[in-house]
Amino acid sequence: MWDYTDKVKTLYMKPKNVGVIEDANAVGEVGSIVCGDALTLYLKIEGERIVDAKFQTFGCGSAIASSSALTEMIIGKTVEEAEKITNRDIVEYLGGLPEQKMHCSVMGREALDKALANWRGETIEEHEDVEGEIVCHCFGVTDKLIRKVIRENRLDTVEEVTNYTKAGGACGSCIEKIEIILDEELKEQREHPAPLHQVKEPLTNIRRLEMVKETIENVIRPVLQKDGGDIQLIDIDGRKVIVGLRGACSQCVISDVTLKNLVQEKLREFVEEDIEVVERR
């Protein structure tokens, strides 16, 4: 049996937002019954805001959970905010997915793309044109999707690509092509390294605050607490993040150097390159 998180279990047993929106103004369909999973996403967009989202999924437990998570994440968001959601965000929302199930989160992201394209009035044909060339014919996976997933999730082996996109998981005849794409992408990454959350536009203050909070909660605090320490977010001023470092570690001599560096490093990795951490005692 798969090692699913409680969140995944809850969501596949009791998924939220199941069904059809009769007057949806954006619909995205991905997958097919032949592939073994498929998702239809219905959105109701008013102005620029997603006011309702529903889904129907054919697939395993994590496919159902990922679909439910996606709808929960986007309801209430603006189109612009929703566009920034990556499959990794879906995985984080679920508290993690087994490696071989990562493709379920990618399917959610793809359905959202398609729904938003549909809302903008791009016809499916047009959309398919820009989608690139089919690499895996068994599951209909394009090079464009493969490249995107490699970048967003920093993949470096063919198995990982298969786990995330299913490409190469059936007959295996496209594995060589995947290797070539992977080589190109890795070369590109070596030459032009990019942060994990690649942001083309600067973050809004609200988004930055959210991301800093998330990173502190999910990444930094668990590390500190292991050693009996703790961290508190006091304020954010532009790219300056002001924190209090408490508990056992506030007594260590090296705390301000080591801890501050750790916190800053993580925030730079997960939020923004030029974050600066200031410790307030």
Partner: protein
């Protein structure tokens, strides 16, 4: 989990309490090594030999020395195939079926990569082996034919007696993977005319980690391992005494219970008919003829197998699926694909496998909860029309 309805007996079975009882002394005070000179060990050796005789009778073999104890079905399969192939080094053709267990199939694939000519005999839509195809494939260069007696996913029984007779005439070594037949149908290796026959203890109420290979008198076989003199040097290593004794007892019990397999078949049929009658999006994988009595495999359209399993699990029911998602690979089971089961229902295939410990109320409970599960998943499915209660027309 408080409630457990175990309908996954082709994956593994519970140890019969009588088997455990018989094993206990060898896990506690009777820990001697059968190879020792002293009586404390030597007496244990006598129990090993008694177990060997029980397994011999279970398989219908002639001589006790034809039974070699191993660690599992996979080892027996490997020993039979690799042992034969490495003996007949001048022959470069081997034959198996497309629906074998990975313990056989992956070894054949290895030989294929190494340059062997490999024939994979196909099956029809019901899972019946293409016997003529197999016969035509045999030639002077054939080193071995390995065919499973009963399939683990569908329970379909292959015509091993006919194959055995044909191969015996041509003096081609014949291995039968009997793992899923043992304990479910009577076995008679002499009637089958096979040279090698694999069984695995944990599929018939003995513990995991014990298997056996029948090696007909005079069969040429190279060992997989080299070491001491145990098992006449065919399988060196100090014996898993408790496992061997347990398998001996389990073999005796299986023979005693074989007439009771009729009851299991009735329960299985009740489950199967109940499912096929209740839903209009379900069909049988396999056929009712030539099938072991405990297995049924049904394919649901429009819903996915792992999701069904997870929902069943939530209700305390343990079953298994042929779906891609539950197996770690991404394609539906190679067995269902070999049968040509359409992907649309292969993805939603579920195997229920019963045992003599299955109760009537287990089947009734399953039939009671299954409709809620299937209806709920249909509701979630994009391929199901919830108003018209039928599948949506779709482009695949």
């Amino acid at each position: 989990m408080d409630k457990l309805i175990y309908l996954d007996n082709n994956a593994t079975t519970r140890i019969d309490p009588l088997v455990l009882e018989e094993m206990m002394p060898f896990l506690t005070e009777r820990y001697g090594n059968p190879s020792s000179m002293h009586d404390f060990g030597g007496d244990v050796g006598a129990d090993v030999e008694r177990a060997r005789d029980r397994v011999r009778r279970f398989l219908g073999a002639e001589n006790d020395y034809e039974i070699v104890f191993t660690s599992c079905g996979t080892e027996s399969d490997n020993m039979a195939i690799a042992g034969t192939v490495s003996y007949y080094t001048d022959k470069k053709h081997i034959i198996t079926s497309r629906v074998e267990h990975p313990a056989v199939l992956n070894l054949f694939k290895k030989y294929e990569r190494e340059g062997y000519r490999v024939t994979y005999v196909p099956v029809d839509r019901q899972g019946h082996l293409d016997l003529d195809f197999l016969k035509r494939a045999v030639d002077e260069d054939t080193a071995l034919v390995s065919i499973m007696y009963a399939n683990n996913e569908t329970g379909m029984i292959h015509p091993v007696e006919e194959i055995g007779a044909y191969l015996r005439e041509r003096k081609v070594p014949f291995h039968v993977d009997g793992v899923q037949a043992a304990g479910k149908i009577p076995i008679d290796v002499k009637k089958i005319n096979c040279d090698l026959f694999t069984i695995s203890g944990h599929k018939f109420h003995a513990p995991k980690g014990i298997g056996a290979l029948y090696v007909r008198r005079g069969t040429r076989l190279r060992p997989l391992m080299y070491g001491g003199h145990q098992e006449r040097t065919r399988r060196p290593g100090t014996e898993n005494v408790a496992g061997i004794v347990g398998m001996g007892k389990a073999a005796d019990l299986a023979m005693a219970h074989l007439p009771g397999e009729g009851r299991i078949a009735l329960l299985r049929d009740r489950l199967e008919e109940g499912i096929l009658k209740r839903f209009n999006n379900v069909s049988l994988n396999g056929s009712r003829e030539k099938r072991v009595p405990n297995t049924t495999n049904v394919g649901f359209e429009f819903i996915e197998g792992e999701a069904i399993l997870l929902y069943l699990n939530e209700k305390g029911i343990a079953a298994s699926s042929g779906s891609a998602c539950s197996s770690g690979s991404l394609e539906p089971s190679h067995v269902l694909r070999a049968m040509g089961v359409p992907f649309t229902s292969a993805h939603g295939s579920i195997r229920f496998s019963l045992s003599r410990f299955t109760k009537e109320e287990d089947v009734d409970y399953t039939l009671e909860v299954l409709p809620q599960i299937v209806d709920r998943l249909l509701e979630i499915s994009p391929f199901w029309d919830n108003e018209k209660k039928c599948g949506k027309p779709m482009a695949v």
